[in-house]
């Protein structure tokens, strides 16, 4: 299955992209993250303890189920306000 992954702020800059398509056998958001971590290099940022994630533009936890075509986002802690 395919998902769209998007990055923001420090992650977006470090990865040099705002998003990408990813194909794999994903059941939950963490499977998507693990597939990226396996690519090593700058993707190791996604191992940060305080990483936040969203699925289809709703904040979620790493055990959130993912489905074909979902938009999965990874970003550092938010700092608005």
């Amino acid at each position: 299955m395919k998902v769209r992954v998007v990055y923001f702020a420090r992650y977006r800059e470090a990865l040099g992209r705002d998003g990408e398509q990813l194909e794999g056998d994903f059941k939950v958001v963490d499977d998507v993250r693990q597939a990226l971590l396996e690519q090593g290099g700058d993707y190791l940022l996604l191992a940060e303890q305080n990483l936040m994630c969203a699925c289809n533009q709703d904040l979620c936890k790493l055990d959130e189920p993912v489905r074909e075509g979902d938009e999965v986002a990874f970003f550092p802690p938010v700092t608005g306000g």
Binding site: A9, A54, Q57, D58, A73, V78, G80, G81
Partner: protein, 148 residues
């Protein structure tokens, strides 16, 4: 109830007055305005860039407003957050809450800011004499949101 995410500046005074306009049932308006400071974490700040997650930002703020409306008897809520390049002294965020009595408005305004700080997808990048850097999330903000 309204959520606005915009680059343009806003006038906090006009926003406060609009909270009461045409509703004589409103007995209390509490408003929070956040501004860009010229100093943060020991560094002089020349300006900042506010990044956000288009689509999710509006959705996340909308959920926070609905959540607040379910917890307190509110007559009007307005959340306005700016994005893009901002300079010290400029307003970044406005949260206005109107209710019949003050306690609901005070509490709901506080709640909305605590949730916005920890759940709305905005990120600040500060420009300083030492270069530009991303502002780190604070544990104190997490703790503040946790009390609700």
């Amino acid at each position: 109830m309204g959520v606005r995410v915009q680059q343009a500046a806003f006038d906090p005074g006009l926003e406060v007055n609009a909270m009461h306009a045409a509703n004589v049932g409103v007995g209390a308006v509490v408003a929070f305005v956040g501004y860009v400071r010229d100093f943060n974490d020991g560094r002089e700040v020349a300006g900042m860039l506010l990044e956000h997650y288009p689509g999710m930002t509006e959705k996340a703020l909308g959920k926070i407003v609905v959540d607040a409306s379910e917890r307190w008897p509110l007559l009007k809520v307005e959340v306005l957050h700016r994005i893009g390049a901002l300079e010290p002294g400029e307003p970044i965020v406005f949260v206005g809450v109107a209710s019949a009595h003050r306690q609901a408005a005070f509490d709901a305004c506080n709640f909305i800011m605590d949730y916005l700080k920890t759940r709305a997808p905005f990120w600040k990048k500060e420009n300083t004499a030492q270069g530009a850097h991303w502002v780190e999330g604070k544990q104190s903000d997490q703790d503040a949101a946790g009390r609700w």
